[in-house]
Amino acid sequence: MRINGKGLIDRSKPVPFVFDGISYSGFEGDTLASALLANEQRLMGRSFKYHRPRGVLTAGSEEPNALMTVGSGPTQEPNVRATMQEIYPGLEARSQNRWPSLNFDLLSLNDLAAPFLGAGFYYKTFMWPKSFWEKVYEPAIRRAAGLGALSGRDNTDKYESAYAFCDLLVIGAGPAGLMAALTAGRAGADVILADESNRMGGRLLAETYEIDGKPGNVWADEVLAELKSMDNVRLMTRTTVAGAYDQGTFAAVERVLHHTERRPNGAPLETYWRIVAKRSVLAAGALERPVAFRDNDRPGIMTAGAVRAYLNRWGVSAGRNVTIFGNTDDIHRTARDLLDAGVHVAAVIDSRHDAPLSKDYQVLRGAQVCGSSGRKGLESITVRRPSGEERIHTDCLAMTGGWNPSVHLTCHMNGRPTWRRDIEAFVPTPGSVPGMSIAGACNGSFSTSACLREGIAAAGEALEGLGLTAPDIALPVAEDASYEITQLWAVPGKGRAWLDFQNDVTVKDVKQAATENFRSVEHMKRYTTQGMATDQGKNSNVAALAILADATGRGIPETGTTTFRPPYSPIAIGAYGAGAEGEGFKPQRFTTSHKASVARNAPMIEAGLWYRPSYFPKTGETTWRESCDREVKQVRDAVGVCDVSTLGKIDIQGPDAGKFLDFVYTNMFSTLKVGRVRYGLMLREDGYVMDDGTTARLGENHYLMTTTTAAAGEVMKHLEFVHQGLCPDLDVSFTSVTEQWAQFAVAGPKSRELLSGLLDQTLDDESWPFMACGQVEVLGVKGRLFRISFSGEHAYEIAVPARYGASLFDILIERAEALGGGLYGMEALNVLRIEKGFITHAEIHGRTTAYDIGMGRMVSQKKDCIGKTMSERPGLEEAGRERLVGLKPIGESRQLLAGAHLYNEEAEPVRTSDQGYITSVCYSPTLETMIGLAFLADGPDREGEVVKMVDHLRGVTTLCEVVNPVFFDPEGGRVRG
């Protein structure tokens, strides 16, 4: 019911919206919850387990009941708290967890079965048979439980992430937060003030407090106006600070567009902020506790603070005939606010025997509400007094069990809150988050005056830490009432008294947990699921542990709390993953030939962040194998061109460059002649192979190292580590030049012919023998040429500055095709190297040594190098080690499969008789058979033997002959020819 003259909504701006297909009207400034209450729609949802009808319990982000689905289609959003959702024209919300409708929900039958569904029911019931766990029980339970659902389609909403930095982050903009921000702002500090609501002011908007003789909200607006005028203060509304992390880092989620239908293209729905603050002030306020009594969950029963908030902030009375129940003076404040607004107060039930009396309304002292009735909403309550029980008709019960300071963020770094007996609540333990000061209600200081005072003090503390001078600031005049509370967790009696409204956990469930010896608060939580719903127990934790404490005969401090972890309130996965949707967050690296390769229909495969062509299909070719076989033949018979720019290239310079390379490579590089290239092997310090590649000596003190594509970053890191960490005295420096050069392999018997005419010099075996390198001019551009080969053919790699890459690629294709050759992709490259027994990271996979890959002699005995000592461990050279061999199928099955294991021909193919495994396979068009590289126990000594390949996964068995891993041209005549 809307109350004339009350509230901070704009009555000149009516806002139509739709709930469960029915059109309603509210006003600008309304939340979905306040607008529905104004329309006297009390039923807003169904509970999780028993599908009980539920109405709104709170007026804030802690709301457990009024969860709704907003929107439809790909952007549909489930579990939106009606208390946080601002209404806008066009808003469409739907209730959840009900079928077919909110009013008539078939699964509310669960409620009748409640006696059987208590804590532990699932654990005890769905035990047998085991085969039913995944196939029957879980799907059935999941269907029945759960709240709202996603659309199942790709979400088209955009989320963004952002960074912010400040001297002081003030969390919460109630009286304490406003005062802290004002104090720090006036001192010139760089301040961010964040508040989860769309309007700052906190409880000042929800209460009728006066500050300095003005209504609290007016005072708040004046402070906000001053803060807005300061360049050094940033105000972040609709922003929930959700987590406190190390070294002053905070996570905050800003709901940018949830309050409007306007969704401009490219605009973010939410922004996930990472705020780095030198200091912080927590002024997060407190959350009111419901009281557990029989059937305390009917729509119409809500916290007293929420009733006042709806009245004072939104001009809505939650009922026409209100009753109030609780254990603090807040209930009297509630009564006065309602009476002042002209709402009838049927009775005030104060559990305290010494409660103040009033001449304006009936006060029942020392009384408790012990039950309620009403089908889909509250109709009456039962009050128990020493004189007996009495039924009172009412459509709204405002209840309070006291307040819980919002200590959550102070627990995010493992802090444990401290119990304060005088306020029956946990407060933050000082120092829980380094650099964080606590102010106001979240510190257990509930009067307005105390909030203002602590706001100033907390800012002062922060300013001192920042080296700034706190300004002289007068403490505004405000109420400073004391807070008198007696314990009131649960009203004794039969029936179900709800603690956790979201997960349907009752007082009885908690007691049962204790009875069954789940006495630790962490065990009780998991056994009953109390505190495990989306509100994370904000409304129930303290009461539940108080009941557990009582049931186990311990005090509350000894019982302790469960751990509060980030986020403070739920965050959409989309916000966490902002920028990672679709193709993901990884940068894409494209070579200069990328477009030309795509234009030739090459399927691109990822190699690290790079994209490389698999093969280049020609008209008429229907399988990748056809293309690949052709490309291999072209290289062997004519010439092929392949972009190899993705291989890591590191420019190494300095007087100690040779010495350094001798230390990181197993073999010698200081002795390499200028103008020559050498293959090098790098070990990890544990003696296993790390990477391989060629290194060219371009000058006396100048080398160019090549790494594999995949290990480029790792090798750079390694070189920097070895230099900075192990031999910083060496005068050497590294520069990655991977990106500077577009480099192409030109391989095949006609490679020299292809290049002739492109260069400023003639290529002959004398000036350009195998493994020569040097500067050349490529069509007038300064480039580099390396006579190296990864195919076993006479081959070169030609490099030009990247700006010319695309152009050179086109020219090389044209020339290759004119010579009967063409492009080749990764598939053909792989075949070419397997035919030659060249290794890649399929073989140097982290568990193989130089000895294993047949390169034991490359570990120079003349010097120390990284990994040498450990590579000489006896176990790494002992008989029986699996070492590199080639395999050829010889039996009926001609199939080889990478990953398959090897066994002796007659052995049973089981783990204990394992002889090794295959790492690389291909069909060799050159040899017209499948071939494979494998690691076989004592492999090189077993050439000519027959072994059995078994792929258990794919059910393939193939007999293979063990051969030398160099299948093709073992003498190496072609590469030199």
């Binding site: 880092t249 580590f721 960490g725 000592t869």
Partner: protein, 87 residues
């Protein structure tokens, strides 16, 4: 988590690559013996308290940094360049 790079100043943890214990800086002589090498390559303490480890400012200046920090409080006590750190 934030780490102060001696070159770049205080930076977000995401700019850094974590390697492991700063023991990696104490490379024994080739002939130091099995135990020394075993300690160097494999054995690591797992302290609840102060630890020294190596981070690489990969998303920054490329410096290797020795970070002294407390594994319990997460406090970063000291950062220094690996090239200047005396282990």
């Amino acid at each position: 988590m934030r780490i102060t790079c001696p070159h770049c100043g205080e930076r977000d943890r995401r700019e850094f690559y974590y390697r492991g214990a700063a023991v990696d800086l104490e490379r024994p002589a080739p002939d130091a013996g099995e135990e020394a090498w075993d300690n160097f390559v494999y054995l690591r303490d797992n302290p609840a308290g102060v630890t020294r480890d190596l981070w690489y400012h990969e998303g920054g200046c490329g410096a290797w940094i020795v970070v002294t920090r407390d594994t319990v409080t997460h406090e970063v006590l000291k950062t220094e360049l690996a090239s200047e750190a005396k282990s």
